[in-house]
Amino acid sequence: MLSFEHITQSIDAWLNGEFSPAVAVSLEGVIVGLCAIGLFAILGLVLVLMERKVSARMQVRLGPNRVGPGGSLQTVADTLKLAMKEGLTPSGADKFLFNLAPYVVIAVAMLILAPMAFARGTQIWDLNIGVLYISAISSLSVIGILMAGWASNNKYSLLGAMRSGAQIVSYELSAGISVISVVVLTGSLRISDIIASQQDGWWLFKGHIPAIVSFVIFIIAVTAETNRAPFDLAEAESELTAGFHTEYSGMKFALFFLAEYVNIFIVCGIAATLYLGGWMPLHIGHWEVFNRVMDYIPSSLWFMGKTFFLIFVIMWFRWTFPRLRIDQLLNLEWKYLLPISLLNLMLMTLVAIEGWYF
């Protein structure tokens, strides 16, 4: 069958046969890099269009439907427009940091792709501390944002970047604690172990109440981490400061824009891996027939389906709720989300030790 596993293994075998191991590994690195860039491009296309269509349907109107069949080429037109715009660097800006910031943000997004499992056997690097690696690298994106705010030489950008930085750093705590709750159940930090442990059912169902609470907190925390509404004070149009990317135009702005959407995809992918089983089909305990039927659907389709469903939920949040003020945002995290997630972690540990899960 034409599964990803077959393709990757056959390419690996052919390369190792043709060249020496060192050259084969570096060639594989190049291929993986190109695939990652290609994935980003396609994701950007699809997600921007999806956002516009979803928002339109919730607002009783049609989305873009003139460019291409059903509006599918709209993002291509937008990208061409952004590429043709003048890329202005403000005077007095720190040129090196100003130009570096978008690339830092994109590089962080690419690095997180490494341990994610897209299908059975399709993982770039299955390291033994996969989950810890993801948490650690996602903290680096704050550097890119602060760089952009500082290097713009604009007090409003700096204000927006500082607010954004405070928001991201606070919400990482709750996200991290929710991730630990699942690790407690699995007993391992390795991504493939986590997925394999969901062979007989997803953690969301097996881990009942603590897992559901932890899932809800995780989704709220990652919505805040990626600066999405209702936590998008840093880039709100009707507030005063337009955020850390005010001074960017043209292709650099396109990179920030793309990085935001790819970040959403990545965090939804992580949520799908931890709570909804990643590429593992829906199995219920030991119901053999049902499990075999579910196995017919290819694993990459399972992964993409779960991730896009969670992306839809995050978009649903954006178009329903008003915006939170900065003090209400931080209030929510430190007074509500953090205590609840800590209590939940204790509960989950108790459940794991006593074995009170399915």
Binding site: W319, F321, R325, I326
Partner: protein, 371 residues
């Protein structure tokens, strides 16, 4: 006029909001003095859309100047025209037939509903929820279609003339209004589900922008702005005109005086308008829709003032006539001007995000302020 705000500390930022800004509902220029993120003073600069309407009216005849008031507060265009027509009728001592009066009140209440719908959509958009704007406009379209069928225009309807209304209502008018009432009653419950009960929205609005009753009276605020602080000032109840004296409706008041109270007052007013329309739509009396007046109107020498309740507050028309075909002076008392003067008092000590919420609940329409 620049007043001292006490000591200007080092580090006070002075920034401009507007004139072009997505949330100032028109061309309003605010000069804000900030200390960090807290507002210390707000100074509105007006005049960006001043079109010398009052001066223009001195060279237009009494039939011709009414259309210009549609362009002042364009969301309550019927109500403004109504006030002008009533003032001219006071001067001519002309009695409007009952059918004309009932049609005028029906159009007024439909306009009030449309204005509050747009206010709701724009307010939600300012606070960050972008979906209710489209839902509000869908309902407003229904009212616009009704207006288009009877009056011929959707926004600036020049339908009121001294003596009555310009043309009789369309034969389908009653049917369409009844359909609309049924349609809107379900939608207004949806409005409450989507925005009013939402915890994020309540947190943004409660306790923000408090205006006490004494301050509301001393600034001259009228309309929902003052009624949200408990001041009783509905012109339809205190100085009834046309058929309002015979209708059963309540004056909606809240006592808290913050943004959420003003929001609730307007939502309740929408429901009261619906009940007024329901009481009138089946009982339109037969007869003339316009009293017979001369082709060229001449008011005798004197001064007259009428007041009506628009969606924003009390709108007044003051005509001074020297006995000719054109007035000597016309003065319009616009509700937005007095409501705006309370903005500085309400916004001090709050954050920038709160300023947007406060301006949203004041429901400012800048052409009304600048005339």
């Amino acid at each position: 006029m620049i007043e001292e705000i006490g000591t200007t500390e080092l580090g006070d930022l002075v920034i401009n909001v507007g004139p072009q800004h997505p949330s100032t509902h028109g061309v309003l220029h605010l000069v804000i003095t900030l200390n960090g993120e807290t507002i210390r003073k707000v100074e509105p600069h007006l005049g960006y859309i001043h079109r010398s309407i009052e001066k223009m009216c001195e060279s237009l005849s009494y039939r011709q100047f009414i259309y210009v008031t549609s362009r002042m507060d364009y969301l309550s265009s019927h109500i403004n025209n109504h006030a002008c027509a009533m003032c001219v009728e006071k001067g001519l001592q002309v009695e409007v037939p009952p059918r004309g009066r009932v049609i005028r009140v029906l159009m007024d209440e439909l306009t009030r509903l449309a204005s509050h719908q747009l206010w709701w959509g724009a307010m939600a958009m300012d606070v960050g929820a972008l979906t209710p704007f489209f839902h509000a406009f869908r309902e407003r379209e229904a009212i616009n279609d009704i207006m288009e069928e009877t009056c011929g225009a959707r926004l600036t309807m020049n339908y009121m003339v001294p003596g009555g209304v310009m043309a009789d209502i369309h034969p389908d008018f009653q049917k369409r209004v009844k359909e609309f009432i049924r349609f809107f009653r379900t939608k207004i419950d949806e409005y409450d589900e989507l925005v009013t009960g939402n915890i994020i929205f309540k947190n943004r609005m409660e306790g923000v922008g408090c205006l006490s009753a004494e301050d509301a009276v001393s600034f001259g605020c009228t309309g929902p702005t003052a009624r949200g602080s408990g001041v009783s000032c509905d012109v339809r109840k205190l100085y009834p005109y046309e058929v309002y004296g015979n209708l059963a409706f309540e004056e909606v008041k809240e006592t808290a005086g913050d943004c959420y109270a003003r929001y609730l007052v307007r939502m309740q007013e929408m429901r009261q308008s619906l009940s007024i329309i329901e009481q009138l739509i089946d009982n339109i009396p037969e007869g003339d829709f316009q009293a017979k007046t001369k082709a060229v109107l001449k008011l005798p020498k004197g001064e007259w003032y009428t007041r009506v309740e628009t969606a924003r507050g009390e709108f007044g028309v003051y005509i001074i006539s020297e006995g000719g075909m054109t007035p000597y002076r016309i003065k319009f008392r616009s509700p937005g001007f007095s409501n705006l003067s309370a903005l500085d008092h309400m916004a001090r000590g709050h954050k920038i995000g709160d300023l947007v919420a406060i301006m949203g609940t004041l429901d400012l329409v800048i052409p009304d302020i600048d005339r």
